[in-house]
Symmetry: C2
Subunit: 441 residues, 2 copies
Amino acid sequence: MLQDTVYDILIHNGTILTVNNDFDIVKDGLLCIEDGKIARIEEKALNQPLPAARKRVDAGGGIILPGLVNTHTHSPMTLFRGLADDLPLMTWLNDYIFRAEAQWLNPETVFKATLLSCAEMLLSGTTTCCDGYFFEDSVARGVQGSGMRAVVAQGIVDFPAPGVPEPEKNVDEARQFIEKWQKKNPLIHPGLFCHSPYTCSEKTLGSARKVADDTDALFQIHVAETKKEADQIQETHGMSPVQYLDRIGVLKANTLVVHGIWVDQEDIACMAKRQVGVSVTTESHMKLASGTAPVPEFLEYGLPVGIGTDGCASNNNLDMFQEMDFMAKVHKARLLDPTVMDARQVLTMATRGGAEAIGLGEDIGSIEVGKRADVIIVDAHKPHLTPLYDPSSHLVYAASGSDVKDVIIDGRVVVKGRTLLTIDIEDVMEEVTSLARQVAS
Amino acid sequence: MLQDTVYDILIHNGTILTVNNDFDIVKDGLLCIEDGKIARIEEKALNQPLPAARKRVDAGGGIILPGLVNTHTHSPMTLFRGLADDLPLMTWLNDYIFRAEAQWLNPETVFKATLLSCAEMLLSGTTTCCDGYFFEDSVARGVQGSGMRAVVAQGIVDFPAPGVPEPEKNVDEARQFIEKWQKKNPLIHPGLFCHSPYTCSEKTLGSARKVADDTDALFQIHVAETKKEADQIQETHGMSPVQYLDRIGVLKANTLVVHGIWVDQEDIACMAKRQVGVSVTTESHMKLASGTAPVPEFLEYGLPVGIGTDGCASNNNLDMFQEMDFMAKVHKARLLDPTVMDARQVLTMATRGGAEAIGLGEDIGSIEVGKRADVIIVDAHKPHLTPLYDPSSHLVYAASGSDVKDVIIDGRVVVKGRTLLTIDIEDVMEEVTSLARQVAS
């Protein structure tokens, strides 16, 4: 590195958790960013001179880590946050969620709710999300306005859906969406999202798979979320949802299996063989009483596994710190073993593992020279984070999204001292509140 | 009410969740406080004139609810927050926690760590805690300094303990502690805390019970936390921990059974018959892989059940909002039923249920005229709490402790706009950090 390099951004005075393969930790860390990439990482005691930089970010003794990757959400569902809870699954879906979606979703409401969702994610340290819903053009516009990185996937289902009243046009719509967004913005990765093996026919799944292959886009699908689904696929096809999807050629690299609760050893081995990624949304699984995905078993098989929040109607927030806490604890409780899913493993899933699961592992997910600069800083100077023995432990077991101080995405500061710089939050909250008044009436 | 009454404090412009028996909700609520008590509750539209008051608190459109009651913690363990995690239970206890306690606890360290703990609890909306540890005189001093309400219980165990090297003096120490604090401060309720049926002999338990009865103090005890404990008691006494404690006359009113994981139907019926209170610490149960307490079953039997965080070494924070979220979700997942433990039920446990479980149900736990004024305000004007359809849902599923804006205890404002008025937080964080540096070395 030449002496006279002037970096774009320099972050200092914090402990860097690189979340690289060796989980290297740099105390008194210095992190330099240039052209949107991480250019330099090293230890730098407080009294040593810092290199030149156009912008300095003082981490204030806090924790510097890769931006969190939320591998599964339906961003616009912030509009329905807390609309209905604690109900039988089918009552909740049919009488509340599907009804509200049919009545209230349109390009404008989806855009506004996406902005709200991005604001919440950015303020809680999520720098990348993997979204799947309808009116994804509006989602992509919202994400673009927020400065986030995202996989944005157009929903596909075999019945009339918001924005696509004719089911037979769903796959075409998805193709057009992907082609439109593919070269528009390097932060936005268009993809498609087949709802599930029980709501998409074999033909639909096959056409969608072809579009994903043709365009090199991520193929995202809910799989084995409920026992009912597993029973239904078993009855119809004589095999498990995973085996069925594999038989029809859907499972391969660049596929994200979401949920994966009702799977057996054979299914997991199949997923590993096909090199799919997995997204697990623990809080939603628990709240909807769907079951528990066998995450330690996924990891044993070497699957890339990420953490997702799911949509706000079944969580009811997008806080990845809380999601990490649930992920770390639920498997200890299930297996009666306090050593499973330790803090570093969970933190790895929320960053690098998630990036790998959604196909962005080469670009993001860890703090390593050459990767894109998606970095967050957690303010550890708080009563509930004092004292600090182990940063990973604090991030998983004690912190929450509101402890995030600064957020940098692709080398751009989007949150500074908890102020969101890209979205007018007051305006967005007012608009969504006003929409919600109509939804509730 | 006379026209010319001048209240001490008036809270307005928020939705009041009374958490009374009917779970009454008052939109545009007005709450008046006089002489430390709740004096008036009514609806008052924004354009109507407000009564006279020496102090006005504007809830800013937020949620006004009873202060949260943390029914089980070991406050000074903030000193060991995140010192060791993800370890086998006995390694964690013997090699880390017991060792650190033996080396580092003294009246001064316990006092400082208690102040840190109280700061964290107050800033996250907990107005009352039920503590059990050693050097409880220091805990009581810390709690007193913070302005919190608490049951403060001196620990009793049949081996040398911090502050009480001679086990045979434990019960006497507890009696002296209770007598010292019983009339000192109306907010502090001294009690005793027998560690467990496997670390206290029948004789110790009997003497402790007598002290509790003589002094009308709460008798707190860990019961049936691990399978190992249940097996051991079964082997030694030929019955379950609950049955054993009942046989020796320990279970009666004014008793708090903490944990209650390894209990069967007969045990629960026995606890109900003896009218004991129960404290369940879900996050700690999960993190230590102890199992899951059958909370819906406790509630079916009419037991008063409260929520506790346990100490910071096994949680690792004291945030009752997160604890509510876990409580609501873990039983849905266990019973595969999304309708169990709904938001109102969980919120009731975190307030009124907890107050009843620790014997303070007549004084606190709900917003009702005549009760002591322990009231908190949650700021709902945040992206992750927008929109707002149902306040209870938000408090349980979407909020976290950092959303608490104001805290009033016994009619005294202790947190105002997230500023803690009773403790010098910077000083306390610095002192505990400095202690932790020695602990870690």
